[in-house]
Symmetry: C2
Subunit: 462 residues, 2 copies
């Protein structure tokens, strides 16, 4: 590793490489991650260009040193940890918008661009990049994790926004997956192969991304229900009826209690019941039609309340309950505790069952727990707390997560809807897909990274 670092220093310059202990610690450990390891990277490099990443990969391959791509450190499953040490490749300085084609509704960006900065930068053109993970996330990590968020039901996940990728392979070869067509049937879909591969097949250095048109008219609504089942049934009916919803989120009673405890939203206190948060977009007429139809559906599913709002301020205020959910939950955390935020997705017909089972199990174990769901995608997160030194408490949480994941698999679901596998869910993935399917993934891995140097210890083991 020392030889590799020396050679990187010689080739790219001293300033690109850091072995500062704080820097190594920062890149190797996170309080919000469910999966930290004891190892730290041997060095952190901050390349400025695809060519520099290629040079680093060549050197790492020469000395058989692990390479771990690093973005905003916002992932939850240890996706950027360095369990085998090695060189951490921090993409933060590759943060340029390279080309912007408003007429073609696409943009070419380096991997270190932050999505909120990007959207701020281009908003005057009326375009935006829809996927909305944690606000600090960088494009490279978003692609590598196939992230999504509250916009996914209407707009799809990150994979749906990748037009092409520039990727550095393990041996330093630079490839571009495609040109810039919005649609193609030409050759294998390498975009989708690298998207969601968590840096184990190549290092994403640049991406061309599709953009969508910012809706000019928005409205929002919130509907409280007596049970999760009622809320999910209402959501399901809305989707099945073809209502053009822009977002559809669920917060359970505990989440709503947390919001109230944290002071409510703009002075408003909420019913502490499972609540759907909805967004509508369209012309004024179509929004009114949609809100009316949504209200009627919620009523038939025994909604206790249905509040709809128009106007930017009012929408922001109502929607802030959803936006602040994570922070409000974390505020309930005992001092020194860590949060475990699982992520599963199941067919929507099974979602309410799984949420209620998971809540009952955690509550039965006297664990504080709350659920937040991207209902339209059958995807939800259950948050629980544990104290790092309390093995019994931690095991209880782990037991809940295991059970929930196991049940999600039994319900034909997936062990990760949007957070990825990382270190934390390798066993789960094997249970979900079985050895033959994982065998195909490993064959692809072997073919593209024969020495398993790219982000080793993630997704599955050798």
């Amino acid at each position: 590793m020392l030889k590799a670092v020396d050679e990187i220093r010689r080739e790219l310059g001293e300033e690109v490489v850091s072995t500062d202990p704080d820097d190594l610690e920062y890149h190797g450990y996170s309080e919000i991650s469910t999966s930290n390891t004891d190892e730290r990277p041997f060095a952190v490099v901050r390349p400025q260009s695809t060519e520099q990443v290629s040079a680093i990969a060549k050197i790492c391959t020469k000395y058989k040193v692990p390479m771990v791509p690093f973005g905003a450190k916002s992932s939850m499953e240890g996706n950027y940890s360095s369990p085998f040490s090695g060189i951490c490749i921090d993409m933060c300085e590759m943060d340029k918008i390279v080309e912007f084609h408003p007429q073609d509704m696409d943009i070419v960006v380096q991997a270190g661009v932050n999505w909120t900065v990007l959207n701020e930068e281009i908003k005057d053109t009326g375009l935006f990049l829809p996927p909305d993970p944690g606000p600090t996330a960088l494009i490279g990590g978003m692609v590598a994790t196939n992230c999504s968020g509250t916009n996914a039901m209407r707009y799809g996940a990150m994979k749906d926004y990748v037009v092409n990728l520039t990727v550095v392979l393990a041996d330093g070869t630079i490839i571009k997956t495609r040109h810039r067509p919005r649609k193609t049937s030409a050759g294998y879909n390498l975009n989708s192969l690298f998207t969601g591969s968590e840096g184990t097949l190549g290092i994403i250095t640049q991406a061309t991304l599709k953009l969508a048109v910012i809706p000019t008219n928005l409205s929002a609504a919130a509907a409280a229900f007596g049970s999760v089942h009622q809320a999910v049934a209402a959501a399901s009916t809305m989707i099945r009826s073809g209502l053009p919803l822009a977002a559809l989120e669920l917060m359970d009673d505990q989440q709503m209690r947390s919001i109230n405890k944290s002071g409510g939203t703009a002075g408003r206190m909420w019913e502490e019941n499972p609540t759907l948060f909805l967004k509508f977009a369209g012309t004024e007429n179509s929004m009114k039609d949609s809100v009316k139809a949504a209200q009627a559906i919620c009523r038939t599913h025994s909604a206790r309340t249905f509040d709809s709002v128009y106007g930017e301020k009012e929408i922001d205020s109502l929607w802030s309950a959803r936006k602040r959910a994570l922070f409000a939950a974390i505020a309930e955390q005992p001092k020194g505790a860590m949060v475990w935020g699982t992520d599963v997705a199941v067919p929507i017909s099974r979602m309410a069952d799984l949420i209620e089972e998971s809540r009952a199990k955690a509550t039965g174990l006297n664990l504080w727990n709350s659920v937040l769901g991207h209902v339209g995608d059958g995807n939800f997160h259950q948050a629980m707390f544990y104290l790092p030194n309390d093995d019994i408490g931690k095991n209880k949480v782990a037991d809940c997560v295991d059970t929930m994941v196991k049940r999600a698999i039994e319900m034909e679901g997936t062990v990760s809807g949007e957070h990825g596998i990382g270190i934390g869910k390798k066993d789960c993935l094997l249970k979900e897909l079985g050895p033959s399917t994982i065998g195909v993934m490993k064959a692809v891995k072997d073919a593209l990274d024969p020495h398993w140097l790219l982000n080793p210890g993630k997704v599955f083991d050798e």
Copy 2:
């Protein structure tokens, strides 16, 4: 090959195997394909189950015999030809709907199910599968080609509807890519790897597909323009404005002439000018808003006419001009001539240039030619005719196609928007993506099909 066929007969029964010369000819040659070869399959097998396909693959691998999956024979680039002979695996008898989950909005089908039959079967539930290629196409081929059609702008291509695939690998291993979640970040995206791989990585035997809600209200419009540039500019403005269009198609003046020559539509004769065909879906109010906005945009781009219609009959009548486009063009074909229908996609800002260049080139060579475009995707087809025995004429057409593909690549486009590569466009694909990117595809091919037995001679050569 004889040994392989004997073993298949012994293991699966006589009735599964055909060596009837007409059957071999039918499976090896097509008049609508741009790329026929002289070889024919050695035998055609019609498996009844995934297990039978697996047994066939095991035997073919044992004797190193090529396997060519075969669907509806509707592809254009020789995707199902047998250039190295071998066993043609005709999926037509695996035509069962296996499971239907209306609440989850998905359906599990065998690869031999026809998409129009499927949609007819489920229409009472208000759901449908959006991709609309040629009406005879079967699900397996649709997935293998990543097909699309007129619905793609609004609904996406086939890849956007694949929840999971059951695939038989070259050695007979059966894998299922995923469970049944609508969204996942768990492991590599094998759905997208097999989708569009044209049967070269595995044989798709079953698929779970997402469904969409049939819009309850529809309207349609047609707008004629003085030039392709004006029509495309209007289309581009509509898309950029966020208008919720359900479809957006372009037919050039020649296409409109063909429609009139074939008798018009429901007695109506059309302006023989580049014409946009639009569809709108939504509530009555939202459709009215959309039609109004579309009309205003078309006017600012100097539309000569703008006709909008409501009501199923009126919409079908207007849209029949678009539906009958291919047949109307083929009706102009001289006796014995074959049609060459190319397929490229470019960023929309370059689309009008490429269409006009391509038309000018073909017209300059005295070739009958017409253009049909899926404008929203920057994807279009130019149709030309040639007589199989007229080498000079055929070379002229080939020259036009070559130039168009070359220009599409220069414009950052793709050599196939929806037809795939097959035999016909292997050189084009290499030009589009270059040897490093093709090298990654070949590495994946080597890993999953080390003897190159699956549909050999397609997409790229060994």
